[in-house]
């Protein structure tokens, strides 16, 4: 019923928004727009722009042969419901005004300058796909793994399929107190049988089945009031069967008095952490243990070939009076600690790459500005840094789309000049003999993945190899 409603809806909404918009801005012409990156930011920008500028055409360029960015390659396999946003993205991608061009990278296959020749408006949404490093000795030892790569590995990201990870170990440390760290811990601690029916790759599933991991420590440099993970993710890990979560109660000695003044999300999360400390004291019969540890920064990873431990320095809060508890900063003490462990994940955030020298970065790890250059805009994690859930990315993308329309209205963007759009870029790609994947090509890949999944009772078996993807969905320009 809902699905069949969709077509009339689009026609009708299209009409309404056209009317609405024309009543305000008479000079709107059709503008050629390109979006770089097909994650949530790219799709939500496209959705909102189609509504605000109904006569525009939008080309979405994607580095990988397949769309959806971190929804496909980041969001955990056991968070299938989160991936329902793909249904909406699929409607957007199927719109006749939208063109998807997969397997092409800005900075590699063409430059920003080419896009400026081809389009009136360019929206950079290529995310944050590099790791922030700890920059301490031992970071290159075997079995020190960036969380980003581990996640790419179990989610089928083609270039992360060969990570040299040894799961034949018992003790794991994860550095960072964000949702990504919780995801990594959950995948390591969850029973493999509970992962079998997800879209996790078959290869990682069989490797995880042999994992000997028993103890996971998630270590953060600040305290319980400053954690970045959200309550939903934390509650989920508390509910894992056969896993006991342990937090040191001493850390909460003075928090009760602060609680009433905290903002609601922080208050609820702190209460849950506090309740967990009490439960930690009862001895449960669990095979696996998860420790959440605070006020510790790694200073050195030790080992000869593979890592065998970590030196930590103990931090304390500066307790600055004019700063809210959530934003308190830390300073190192002279106390040190050594923790043996055989596997380490670094999970202290992602940063964006400067894929073209012409793209200015106003912050060290991301663009940090919505208006990047005349006619060039940014949205999503590339624009804001790697924080926030899909909801925040959506809201940010809508804002970018809105500001673009304001700029057109105010004559800031040159929409008078007819731009050649994809025809211009196509010539460059053709000269290079580039194979691209269009929306139909992606649908062919999608179909094969779903078919393969059926044999294993999974929603899909992801193809993890670019050349195989191109064989199914690619075509020469």
């Amino acid at each position: 019923m809902r699905a069949s409603n969709f077509i009339p809806m689009r026609v009708c909404n299209h009409f309404i928004s056209l009317k609405l918009f024309n009543s305000k801005v008479n000079s709107f012409r059709s503008v050629t727009v390109c979006v770089i990156g097909s994650g949530p930011a790219g799709f939500y920008c496209t959705q909102h722009l189609l509504k605000l500028l109904p006569t525009s055409s939008i080309d979405i360029y994607e580095k990988l042969p397949v769309p959806f960015g971190l929804v496909r390659f980041g969001v955990a396999p056991d968070h299938a419901d989160v991936k329902n946003v793909i249904n909406n993205f699929t409607k957007i991608g199927s719109d006749s005004r939208v063109k998807f061009i997969g397997n092409v990278s800005l900075g590699k296959d063409f430059k920003l300058q080419h896009l400026q020749e081809a389009y009136n408006i360019i929206i950079l949404c290529y995310g944050a796909d590099q790791d922030i490093e700890l920059k301490i000795p031992g970071e290159k030892l075997n079995n020190v793994i960036p969380a980003r790569k581990f996640i790419g590995w179990y989610n089928g990201l083609p270039h992360d399929q060969d990570i040299p990870i040894n799961l034949d170990v018992e003790n794991v440390n994860i550095f960072g107190h964000g949702n990504v760290a919780i995801d990594v811990a959950r995948i390591l601690l969850k029973s493999v049988d509970d992962l079998r029916k997800t879209d996790i790759t078959e290869n990682s599933l069989s490797r995880l089945a042999e994992s000997k991991v028993k103890t996971v420590r998630i270590i953060g440099r600040r305290g319980p009031l400053q954690v970045a993970f959200t309550i939903k993710e934390f509650r989920e890990i508390l509910k894992l069967p056969n896993v006991q979560t342990i937090i040191n109660p001493e850390l909460f000695e003075n928090t009760e008095s602060i609680l009433p003044d905290l903002p609601r999300p922080r208050k609820r999360l702190t209460e849950l952490l506090f309740t967990t400390t009490r439960k930690s004291q009862t001895t449960a019969q669990s095979d696996k243990k998860l420790f959440i540890e605070f006020f510790r920064s790694p200073t050195k990873f030790t080992g000869i070939n593979a890592v065998n431990g970590v030196e930590l320095v103990i931090n304390k809060l500066k307790n600055l009076h004019d700063i809210s508890p959530e934003l308190q900063q830390i300073e190192a003490t002279c106390q040190k600690e050594y923790v043996p462990c055989e596997l380490i994940f670094r999970s202290i955030g992602y940063k964006s790459s400067k894929v073209d020298q012409e793209i200015p970065f106003y912050s060290s790890n991301y663009i940090g500005k919505l208006r990047v250059l005349p006619g060039v805009y940014s949205a999503g994690w590339l624009s804001t840094g790697s924080t926030g859930v899909i909801l925040s990315t959506m809201s940010n993308a809508f804002k970018t789309a809105y500001e673009i329309c304001e700029d057109i209205k105010n004559g800031i963007i040159n929409d008078k000049e007819d731009k050649p759009g994809y025809n211009y870029i196509k010539k460059i790609l053709k000269k290079e003999g580039k194979i691209t994947v269009d929306w139909q090509g992606w649908k062919n890949i999608d179909k094969v993945e779903i078919e393969r999944g059926k044999y294993r009772n999974k929603p899909r078996e992801k193809i993890v190899n670019v050349s195989e993807m191109l064989e199914i969905g690619g075509r020469a320009e």
Binding site: L52, V82, I231
Partner: protein
Amino acid sequence: MKYIPTNKFIQSRSLTTTINNLQEKEKSTPQYEVTFVKKNGERIKVTCNEGDSLLDVVLNNNLDFDGYGACGGTLTCSTCHVILKKEDFDRLPDTPTEEENDMLDLAYEYTDTSRLGCQIRITKDLNGLEVCLPSSINDARS
């Protein structure tokens, strides 16, 4: 000319039957009214069936709220956030569950009378309900 039933005919006949069935259903289940108020003051009044969630109401009436209901009502996105009047909030038959509260913690413009639309079901008591949408969801700014 001899009449040959085609696939198309059969298809359209079954479609008509479905539509008739639906109309029957609509006749038998009571219809209620719900009003959505956008940040710019625009009011959208629609009808719905007994037991529909506010997310169903948005979808069934093809309301064009960009991004609304991204996770399809599975309590994993909080894009379906609505703000109720105090008296309506108080007369809802249930209070938010722990899971709903966890998602509400992520909602923008959270208020003491915020709920997630996918968790509110319309019953006779709630006929005429009026809810506000936060600005991050709708296109008030356009």
